[in-house]
């Protein structure tokens, strides 16, 4: 081992592996922070998504190697959970609850309103890349339905009017 390493100082001359991209480096360091432990995979994805806004496919081989799992397993976990995004999303992710309690207070109307006023569909991002709207099932605010979450901020009793106010405040924030 020592001899081999000596022949290839830093591996830079003969190593055909191209330099890691920033995304791959990010994945590697997040895994390292979690001790490269396979059972922390969900936390690793959460952290990557927090940093990058989504979990790029390019990170998967890096994570697989770090955790000593197959790429298929890593891919399987990523795609199993609704929360993880595989593609870039809007600056703000707005989750609209579509579960029963919110249905009883008109979330269907709210969803239609959101789609129409933002000119996009649930699960999609507005043309200007500002907002992604998505459906979720229960935000745990069922006594103050319908519930909406923007990033980590929870809103209750959201009717179309209040929804527009929330969007308005996001736009105002962006303009400042």
């Amino acid at each position: 081992m020592a001899k081999k390493a000596g022949n290839k100082p830093n591996g830079s001359m003969t190593d055909p592996t191209p330099a890691l991209t920033p995304v791959e480096v990010a994945a590697m360091s997040v895994c390292a922070r979690h001790g490269n432990k396979p059972d922390e995979l969900l936390e690793i994805f959460h952290e990557l998504q927090h940093q990058l806004g989504y979990v790029p496919d390019a990170t998967l081989p890096v994570i697989a190697k770090a955790l000593n799992r197959s790429r298929a397993e890593i891919y399987g976990v990523l795609t199993f959970y609704h929360e993880y995004k595989r593609h870039p999303v809007g600056k703000h992710v707005i989750k609209i609850c579509r579960a029963e309690a919110c249905q009883s207070m008109g979330t269907d109307t709210l969803c239609r309103h959101a789609e129409q006023s933002l000119k996009t569909k649930l699960g999609d991002t507005t043309a200007d890349g500002m907002v992604t709207i998505e459906q979720v099932f229960c935000l745990g605010n069922c006594a103050l339905s319908p519930a909406v979450m923007v990033g980590e901020t929870l809103y209750g009793k959201v009717d179309p009017k209040r929804f527009d106010e929330i969007i308005g405040s996001l736009e105002k924030e962006a303009a400042e």
Partner: protein, 521 residues
């Protein structure tokens, strides 16, 4: 110095509690008044949130729901002296919604500062654990068995039996896992407790660890609850510093390490074996049982798995004795349940009551009827896998067995109220749609059955061979009930069949395109 309480509970925040707290602070500064703002948990009267309380010598006085724009007026009216105002409700504990409850698990929630361990101790906290540390583990298990506590997550399995199984296995690597993946619509008790009294959960889990001989524990919290995750992580650090967690707890031989794991938006991970897979960093695919998790659970080791509400009931059971807890309730449903009034309800919130209370009492006496003011038509009890019950069953007492007799389930105690505008065929279709979206895909009845279920209901609604398709739907439901691996596919027929049996008229409406038109929009 006057203490003013403004909740930090996510529900309170969702209607502006942070803003209210900020405005109260700045208004007090402007008026040169010395106040201390305490960010407490919620009292559970969510219809009054943000509920601001002012501490008076004899009691705390409530004002709510307070908007930021009300604050100046409250100061003018003298709310810091507990004086009247249009939003005043008098002493919080005298509000009938609150006063009529039997608060055991939620005894502290909303009263204390959730992250003050001194506050927690001053209100009886850690009394149960202190006692447990001096007891023989088997005596702890016996006390829990005596209490009659049954799994509060919905299945109602006796907690003492689970604990006994783990206790009886040879010493070695064992775990405690808390299911805080509260995915059922209409439930928020777990969230309220984690945000409002996190030490109570920590204490309950630590008692479980002592009883079962576990060294490590995990709390699996859903990602939709970022506030709860933050509070729990802070609380764990505080408890560690105070030596209520970690090595040699309070100088005893017991050590227990606790971790928080965040889910990622998969409803199925509320199923215990899916949750275990997820904690292990895998896809949340249901495991076959046996082996039961008490024998081969997390990382293949014996594991005590309980819901937040089950663990949180334990400290008071150990502190006051199993018989104290057992004296509440009816039949084989002992103790209290945190009922959650949700959906189309005028006075939504949390009502902790002994078993035996009826749906009608809950939605009328506490809930005050619907928010829309229209008649109640259906109540879904026990989450998305629970039955829709019609008015004729509103007087059945909340009791696991009594509910089972009428083809319904108490579950986690969540009640979602619908007024008379609800279309029950649409609700039945949603139950199947939800199952199709959230199924883990391991077993066929759940994975395929749910998708076929949506199609069959669509045909019924569209009046295509209606009678034949109704028969087919019943048949499909039987297959799902009998053939699914877990409660996801096994209980989805509950809401579907209860809607069909309780509200058949909605499946026989003449206009065939009402839902299709809706879907096309």
């Amino acid at each position: 110095m006057i203490r003013v309480f403004v909740p930090r509970d996510a529900a309170a925040l969702s209607v502006g509690a942070d803003e209210v707290a900020a405005v109260i602070a700045s208004e007090a500064k402007k008026r040169n008044l010395d106040i201390q703002i305490v960010r407490n948990g919620s009292r559970g009267m969510l219809y009054l949130e943000p509920l601001v309380e002012v501490e008076m010598p004899k009691a705390r006085v409530a004002y709510g729901p307070v908007a930021a724009s009300d604050v100046a007026g409250l100061f003018d009216a003298g709310f810091l002296e507990g004086k009247p105002h249009a939003l005043a409700h008098g002493a919080t504990e005298e509000i009938s919604y609150f006063k009529t409850q039997e608060r055991l698990t939620f005894a502290r929630c909303g009263i204390t500062d959730p992250l003050s361990i001194e506050d927690y101790r001053a209100h009886g906290g850690f009394a149960g654990l202190a006692k447990a540390l001096q007891m023989k583990p088997i005596d702890i298990v016996t006390e829990v068995t005596t209490s009659g506590l049954r799994g509060r997550g919905g299945a109602g399995f006796p907690t003492g039996i689970k604990w006994k199984t783990v206790h009886d296995l040879p010493a070695g690597e064992k775990y405690v896992a808390c299911n805080a993946d509260e995915g059922d619509s209409g439930t928020f008790a777990d969230r309220m407790l984690m945000e409002g009294d996190p030490f109570c959960l920590i204490e309950g889990m630590t008692i479980a660890a002592v009883a079962g001989g576990a060294q490590k524990g995990y709390i699996y919290v859903r990602s939709e609850y970022p506030h709860a995750v933050k509070v729990l992580r802070e609380a764990i650090e505080i408890a560690k510093k105070a030596n209520w967690l970690g090595d040699n707890i309070q100088g005893t031989k017991y050590s227990f390490e606790l971790f928080v794991r965040m889910g990622a938006g998969a409803y199925i991970c509320g199923e215990e074996t899916s949750m275990l897979e997820s904690i292990e960093g895998k896809r949340g695919i249901v495991r076959y049982k046996p082996p039961i998790p008490a024998i081969e659970g997390l990382f293949g080791k014996p594991t005590i798995i309980n819901n937040v509400m089950s663990f949180a009931a334990v400290p008071i059971i150990i502190d006051k004795g199993g018989e104290f807890y057992r004296d509440y309730g009816v039949g084989r449903s002992r103790g209290t349940l945190a009922f959650q009034l949700a959906g189309n309800i005028k006075q939504g919130g949390l009502v902790e009551k002994a078993f035996g209370v009826t749906t009608r009492q809950l939605i009328e006496d506490w809930g005050g009827g619907t928010a829309t003011g229209r008649p109640v038509r259906a109540v879904q009890v026990g989450g998305p896998l629970g039955a829709y019950i019609p008015e004729s069953k509103f007087d059945v007492p909340m009791d696991y067995e009594e509910f089972a007799k009428v083809d319904a389930m108490v579950g986690h105690g969540g009640l979602v109220v619908f007024d008379d505008t609800v279309d029950m065929a649409k609700q039945a279709r949603f139950a199947m749609e939800f199952c199709a979206i959230e199924s883990c895909g391991k077993c066929t009845p759940c994975r395929i059955g749910s998708t076929r279920g949506v199609e069959v209901i669509d045909r019924i609604i569209a009046d295509v061979d209606r009678e034949k398709n109704l028969a087919l739907l019943e048949d499909l439901c039987v297959t799902m009930t009998d053939g699914s691996l877990c409660a996801m596919g096994g209980l989805t027929p509950f809401p579907v069949m209860s809607a069909l049996r309780g509200f058949p008229e909605d499946f026989h409406k003449p206009s065939p395109d009402r839902f299709l038109a809706d879907a096309a929009e």
